[in-house]
Amino acid sequence: MFECTWHVERLNLESLQGIELSVLWYTEGKGDEDLSVHFFRRLSAARLREIDLSQPQKFVSLLPESPVSYNGHLLRIRWCARMRLFLSGGQEIVTELPFTMHAAGDDAGDRPTPPLQPALESPATRSPATRQPV
């Protein structure tokens, strides 16, 4: 079970047109990128007016058994929770929280892991339409 908490701060909420929350995996490496979304929820502008975005919001998703995170030579499989904010004027802010998915009983303690990402907050300091490197 994957549980994620998010909130928005330091952003003019009037300019928010929508928010997309997703849990997905994507590939990195030599091959073209593949991406598969496991969980997706879109919050419209009307819905955003009803909730207090400065307070922690939560979503829960039951993850599949595959694919597990993988760090190979030609191919890397990354899992992340991604939040995409749509602002007025066509601008977008994307932020990610990567995590490692492993098989049950797999002791991945010595497996190389990407650096820790900040929590899903404070997008105002980030340039629009960018994705953080994992």
Partner: protein, 348 residues
Amino acid sequence: MPLLPQPWSKKRGSRLAARVFSGVVGEVLFYALLFLIGVFAVTLTIVGRFPGGGGPAVPVGLGFWIFLIASLALLVTGGGGLSYRILRVGASSERRAALARRTESLELVGRPARQTRPLPNVPQGDALGDSPGIRLAYRLPSSASPVTRVAAAAVLALLWCGVWVVLAAVAVSGLWRGTPRPMLTFLLLPLGGIGIWTARYFLRQLRESAGVGATIVEISDNPLRPSSSYRLFVAQFGKLRLRRLRVSLVCEEESIFRQGTDVRVDRHVASETAICSEKNVSIDPETPWEEEFELKVPPRAMHSFQSPHNAVHWKIVVSGESRPWPSFSRSFPVVVHPPCGAGTRDRR
């Protein structure tokens, strides 16, 4: 600082230096321009063919049809590209992927229900269990049939050599009539060299196919799981003397990528576990080489994975260094599933 519109930009790693909106506007304008040029050209053609006021009509010839087809191509390309781009406005890559996933799940309606829930992006390996074995439960199919390779080499050699013979006949007939063709005669030399290479390649494939007999691989269970042990049976037929015969379990990464207009495939052996390595093996048709082994899948092995542009394959590889026959290597795909149950590890 005010943002000025940029007609072009570039990617910096995974980050786009320009605003996405500018790119969308640029694409829409480009396709709209194509569409308008197409409409203009089609109108010109029709008006030229059916002029009002009794003017002379454009004659219907080859040029007329080429111009009309080119105009229609512009119109269709512009209209199609414009519609496609507009449909993608406001849809993030995650949203499109989620919609595609929902469509896939709708397509499953009406299919017979599976007894087990399929693992996403893991090959089920059902085809590997179609053929029962004699010693063990399943006989594994080979990834590439030697007959296909021999047939392809034969077609290549025959076509090339056939063309060379025709050109040679033209050159000889020219000499015979007293009108020699020096350029064609000169070109026959390099073309003949390539023909010899194709013929030698065909003979090499034929020798390998005829001299190295069939390879049979059987396994006790399918699919495989990490940390588990299985029985493996390998038999090599033919009449040959091998310097070394190896059987190994190989994990291979595969990536498909575009380089310019080409689509390329790159492969890398991520891990190789030797199961058997035997020197000076003699095989004749009466006594094929047969061995049964214990196959242990490594405990932290990555499961088989398949996505549109990337894959992780597992296979049993039987390879031999032989004389006088050429060395051979034959692959038998297997599927490795993840251990039952998976979870997440928090990075913090």
